[in-house]
């Protein structure tokens, strides 16, 4: 890299930098500091729900102006809508196919053409959203709940609990996800989305647990938690009312980003023949059928449309996760 002219120092997009002077030009946003003197808290009211809402409202204000968030959120709303009611935009039946039209190209009324079995690719692509999104959403929920519970308890109780639960987390972290999922799914005889959801949740939670543990350890040291404890709040109340609202943000962000990768993982497992299987309509199943023996060589449309739908969905969830993280992470403000 001989053309390395100069280093951005401080980076050009930094509005505060430039002037040397005293370090920390304490002016701009320092939201966590002392409550504004003009607004005394009500008698006895604990200040933390207000603060929590502050973070979320700030994030929302930030997100509303973020084009990346708006585009991905709109796309996700649309995808969820057609996952729930595919009949809205597709009139056919994804399982009614006529072999006579096998691999026919796009034609009016059948924009995406026909696949090997003579099924309408458009209808199958629309109906495929349901399985993919159901797997992604359920697995992300499972991972978030399981990870937050284990990580939260480890971080909150500390000591031997922490040691035991952290080792448990390490054990599950030690199994590569694709590997464990293939082994599990090939050994059981059940098929459908639930085994896939189950194994992804079972192997995916350690990442969330590590994040949740760190967040809870930070949150439990705050003064308002000590205050609540001094007032006699029990473990359940402390955890659910005081710590959870302040530790949940990183978990949500991580789960959103993972949601996208879970959808891709489902497709990969279906491609390997152990995920969802044929009578279930899913993008993974269709892509797998299209790439089997390079069927797409003569009819690229059978690979293109399901693959594009899958990629767009994964992209939407990853971008949403990125945007939410940027909004919730005060370091980047």
């Amino acid at each position: 890299m001989p053309d390395q002219g100069r280093l951005p120092l401080p980076a050009e997009d930094d509005p505060v930098g430039g002037g040397s002077g005293p370090p920390e030009p304490a002016g701009a946003p320092t939201p966590t500091l002392a409550p504004a003197p003009g607004r005394p808290a009500g008698p006895g009211a604990s200040p933390e729900p207000d603060e929590a809402r502050g973070l979320w409202r700030d994030a929302w204000l930030d997100l509303r102006r973020n084009p990346v968030f708006l585009v991905s959120a709109l796309l996700i709303c649309f995808l969820v809508l057609i996952a729930l009611w595919p009949g809205l935009i597709a009139t056919g039946d994804p399982l009614r196919c006529s072999l006579g039209r096998s691999l026919e190209g796009p034609s009016p009324g059948h924009w995406f053409g026909f696949d090997t079995q003579g099924c309408d690719v458009y209808t199958r692509t629309v109906y495929g959203a349901r399985a993919s999104i159901a797997v992604g959403v359920c697995a992300a929920l499972g991972v978030a709940v399981l990870g937050a519970a284990v990580g939260g308890l480890a971080g909150y109780f500390g000591g031997p609990w922490d040691t035991a639960l952290s080792r448990l987390t390490d054990v599950f972290f030690g199994i590569p996800m694709v590997l464990g999922a293939i082994v599990f799914l090939s050994m059981i005889t059940l098929s459908g989305i639930w085994p896939v959801v189950l194994i992804i949740s079972a192997l995916g939670w350690p990442q969330i647990a590590r994040i949740a543990r760190g967040a809870v350890i930070t949150a439990k040291q705050h003064d308002y938690v000590q205050a609540a404890r001094a007032l006699g709040a029990g473990h359940t109340r402390l955890l659910l009312r005081h710590i959870l609202p302040n530790a949940v943000a990183p978990v949500i962000v991580m789960a959103t980003v993972m949601l996208g990768t879970f959808i891709a993982l489902e497709a990969t497992l279906s491609y390997l023949g152990v995920g969802l299987r044929p009578p279930t309509v899913s993008w993974g199943v269709d892509i797998s059928a299209a790439s089997d023996g390079m069927q797409f060589r003569n009819a690229p449309h059978i690979l293109l449309y399901p693959a594009a739908a899958l990629s767009l969905t994964v992209l939407a969830f990853i971008m949403l996760g990125d945007a939410v993280r940027d909004a919730l992470d005060p370091k980047l403000r």
Binding site: P8, E12, R167, P176, L179, I182, V183
Partner: protein
């Protein structure tokens, strides 16, 4: 340093035991190796019983596991049901996969860090935006779609490469499979390096280095990069396991007879000793890679000391 290493190795024991036991449980409790051996025809009950007794499949699970682990530590990974020892399969498969992983890891490190530094120093410019977009596309399009398409376009249509890799898997043949294998990680490494470099470019020590008149290249490589690499190295360490496991897809596409290929064959044929044996070794590699990364921290950041 020595004590730290020892403590970490001791900590690894329960994790290794737990992870391998989970896999063992999945294979031996959920599947039935003897029935699988007979395929669609049901086995004769007497033969099945004899086989179960021969392979200790009639003992309780924990005892099977202990016997299995005991054997592993004497270098005996058991006989696959087809008669060949599992170790022979491993001796053929691991060098190939290891080469593939090295190619992938090398590409990922060199390209990822280079792109990350270039974009991190020029945030918001055209190059930055286009690289960032490219990483998003790479992350979103599933590997097996990219793999089959690249194989078809480069191998079949253009004829630049052999579509299938030969059994001895030379390095030049592994270039495209390695690239496909590492693409997603490459995108993450790029993004991670970019964020890290952009953050550290404002650090005081970089300011000092620039102020004392060091050439920009030296500042970037010796001062900025060294500190920015810590999260990247963490990621790369954890990625070794992912690459080894992700090779199942890549090796299937390009017909490479490595670990992923043999493992997949073992899974499809429910060949339990093969599956458990390979996974045990993979888990061990994964754990050791993570340990190695933790030790590397001390090299990269002199502030970190291990007692």
């Amino acid at each position: 340093m020595g004590r730290y290493l020892l403590r970490r190795l001791v900590q690894m024991v329960p994790v290794f035991t737990g992870a391998t036991f989970l896999i063992f449980l999945m294979v031996y409790a959920l599947g039935d190796p003897v029935t699988a051996l007979f395929g669609d025809r049901g086995p004769d009950p007497a033969t099945a019983r004899a086989l179960r007794a021969e392979f200790n499949l009639d003992k309780p699970l924990w005892e099977q596991y202990l016997r299995y682990m005991g054997k592993i530590f004497t270098g005996d990974f058991g006989t696959a049901f087809n008669g060949r020892p599992v170790t022979e399969l491993m001796a053929n498969a691991f060098p190939i996969s290891f080469r593939l992983m090295l190619v992938a890891l090398g590409l990922e490190m060199v390209l990822g860090v280079a792109l990350g530094v270039l974009t991190g120093l020029r945030r918001g410019r055209a190059l930055d935006t286009s690289v960032l977009l490219a990483t998003l596309v790479v992350i979103a399009v599933p590997t097996f779609v990219l793999g089959t398409t690249a194989q078809y376009l480069l191998g079949v249509e253009l004829g630049w490469i052999q579509p299938a890799v030969s059994p001895d898997a030379r390095l030049d043949e592994l270039l495209l499979p390695g690239l496909i294998l590492c693409l997603v990680s490459l995108a993450y490494v790029t993004r991670l390096t970019r964020t890290s470099v952009a953050e550290n470019a404002r650090a005081d020590y970089v300011r000092t280095a620039v102020a004392k008149g060091l050439p920009a290249r030296r500042v970037t490589v010796r001062h900025l990069l060294r500190n920015s690499l810590i999260p990247v190295v963490t990621y790369l360490g954890a990625d070794i396991g992912t690459l080894m496991a992700g090779a199942i897809v890549t090796e299937r596409i390009f017909n490479i007879q490595g670990v992923g290929y043999q493992l997949f064959q073992g899974i499809v044929r429910q060949n339990s000793p093969t599956v458990v044996g390979f996974v045990v070794v993979l888990v061990l590699i994964f754990l050791l890679a993570n340990l190695f990364v933790d030790l590397l921290y001390a090299v990269l950041d002199p502030r970190i000391r291990y007692a």
